[in-house]
Assembly symmetry: C2
Homo-oligomer: 87 residues x 2
Amino acid sequence: MFVIITYDVGEKRVGKVCKKLKGYLDWTQNSVFEGEITKGSLDKCLFELDQIVNPNEDSIYLYRVDNPRNIKKHIYGQEKNHSNFFL
Amino acid sequence: MFVIITYDVGEKRVGKVCKKLKGYLDWTQNSVFEGEITKGSLDKCLFELDQIVNPNEDSIYLYRVDNPRNIKKHIYGQEKNHSNFFL
């Protein structure tokens, strides 16, 4: 499946969330990760995120497309792939 | 179709981009808009964004799913729908 994860989390946790997601997906834009992932890895990733975030303050959105052919991506301007940035 | 638009634009332009997108989609998270839209409205929206952004600095990602049934959204923590925030 193809997923997009966007997040809006407290400053104290944003680094940890970002670092965790970097282990599973591509960091393509400020607080936006995307990529293909298996259900097992996604479940593991979400479980680990759950140990980091504060559900009363933070917000994580997961958009899931089971067949990657059903989603198209268009980039306008710069492709800001952060994945090669060291965090 | 269902679209997700994420953006990473210069401070001078972010307010204008956000205000423009609010006319077309739901502002669901910091620099994330989503919603159903017709091709005509999407083309108009993109044309108007093109008049605002600086392609050498800014980055707009458009994820497009033609059949809205092919994408599922899961929210973890808070649903931060900014659409009712006055900008």
